[in-house]
Symmetry: C2
Subunit: 350 residues, 2 copies
Amino acid sequence: MDAPPARKAKTLKDIAELAGVSVTTVSKVINNYSDVSESTRAKVQAIINQQAFCPDPVASSLSGKASYSIGVILRYNPVWGLHHSFFYKVMFGLGRRLGQSNYDCVVFPDAWLGEPVDYLEKCVRRRVDGVVLMGVDFDSPNLEALAQSDLPCLFIDIVGDSYPGNNGYFLAWDHQQGACQAVDYLYALGHRKIGLLGGLPNTYPARSHREAFKERLSDYGLPICEEWMVGDDFTEDSGYYAMQKILQQPTKPTAVVCQSDAAAVGALRTLERSGLKCPDDISIIGYDDIEICRYTHPALTTIRQDTLLLGRLAADTIIACIRDGSAPREQILPVSLIVRDSCRRIESHA
Amino acid sequence: MDAPPARKAKTLKDIAELAGVSVTTVSKVINNYSDVSESTRAKVQAIINQQAFCPDPVASSLSGKASYSIGVILRYNPVWGLHHSFFYKVMFGLGRRLGQSNYDCVVFPDAWLGEPVDYLEKCVRRRVDGVVLMGVDFDSPNLEALAQSDLPCLFIDIVGDSYPGNNGYFLAWDHQQGACQAVDYLYALGHRKIGLLGGLPNTYPARSHREAFKERLSDYGLPICEEWMVGDDFTEDSGYYAMQKILQQPTKPTAVVCQSDAAAVGALRTLERSGLKCPDDISIIGYDDIEICRYTHPALTTIRQDTLLLGRLAADTIIACIRDGSAPREQILPVSLIVRDSCRRIESHA
DNA sequence: CATTTCACAGAAAGCGCTTTCGTTAATTAG
DNA sequence: CTAATTAACGAAAGCGCTTTCTGTGAAATG
């Protein structure tokens, strides 16, 4: 029978022999040293390409160079429930794009409750070249240590105002645009009394969304009613109770924009229990476009964030940081309105 | 100002000096070599414990020993939609438990479409000590190579009948129990005509569930009606169309057990469009207990699989494989019935 | 008492790579 | 034409660990 195709990875030495040079020289062409002539560089590079050679990442890390691995800090909060698939997709997009550049990602899960993990220690141990953080906020324990290090840190959906380090990069959605799209759409449908069902107030997404929301309202000359702006966090329960509060108001909004789909789902539940119908009695617009939107009742009009895209961009960004620090400090991604059945046109009595 | 606390990891050498022995000896006590006396072993071990020393994983891998990392193959299929949070949770439970044993996991995402990744090559490159595979079936490309290797492979929710290797371990849910619980529950509610809304027929979960379902039906002396057993895969769409077929039958079941929550959601949609009500006209029972169940209309009675538990068990299993191959080849986890609002009691006309 | 065994510890090589430094040959300067 | 410079390459040490092999003194054997 055929001998199995000897799954032995090629080494620098193999390349060196094929090219008739020393390992040193091969290493030098890989690492772009200047003291190698154009002719030998070309010769060696040709062999490298032909053999599809790629230096061993663990050997490379051991000798203090790139490990071709990036750390991914995942936060898990049982309360997020519906939001986990969001992270999964980002991570997937990220990992896949990294893989294409021969990077791999090693994930460090950190639970919301229970013993927090020491990010930096883990990252140093694994010699990762950079870190991507999801679901992490600035008061997370152990973040400080990471911030003091010189590892490039890419934060997802958070922005760097109060970050206690200078190694931070930030990739976030344009929640201002999201707020505007929601308001614009409702306004166009004739709504003039619009409430906000907010998420955790002091987070970047909630804050930027809320401010843009209010500003947009005043752009249109619409009333900004604090009693219509409620909500504690991004969960379904929060949406449930917040909607109850709104319904207790003497005059009610005709539409409510939510800061998460989960909260919107909670709001729908409140409506249903109150014998009200969406969108007949009140229009609801969600945020995130998680899977569930297509299956709610009615299907939820919402603002979509392209998670796979975010993941890919995260990969490109962190690699750029590592290579030459050439990544933009802050990137804001557009979002888009997805129209389903939870908003209706009404007669504006303006 | 204080010097930063020198985040330099300790090395074997440090320990050796503290203990007054050679690095060799320290290494030997760590790796349980027999040629070290009890007294020195104790002395060295004391220092190791006191310093909380843990050998550098990348150096360790380079020299051909444990890398303290395990590879996680993640499959992504846009069609799975709702199922992704399932994987996320398993991965989280897995990663966290692994971390507690000083293992880390490096994830290799593999897309359903597009260029498949070469598992084995990636795993060898990273020198992982073992592999956990999720969402992978036996006809996945590149799986063969992995199977031929001697890396321990732990498969999630699939069972090893047709696995082309002898390095496979399997961790799956007890779908037979799941089927029985559903049938038992419906029977107790008075249902005597029960249909099945199935998933991808030739997968382990669907097959074992289906067989147990039929068997349980005949245990009760209930009719097994092939026209009531439909469905192509686990998706919402599949459930949607399958339910339509069921409704076209001359005599209809009073209850339908589904092989996934997503399919159940699709079935609910069909009912709604047909002007039928669940559970009044027909009872539905889902499978998986994904987040969405609490938010459907009515809330879905279903069979829960404890994903975090599965993740933790996966970690324990793969570590046991690595340490001494002492893990059971196949483990089947119990599932549990979660009663919500989608099944009603009916008068049995038995 | 001389010799073989054995238990124990350390020296050294090696994993695949990076990087410093030395060496040679070609080039320029004096 | 010799001395100083530079360009191009390779030898070798080192990253932190494992493992083999060698060496020592003590115990056991004849």
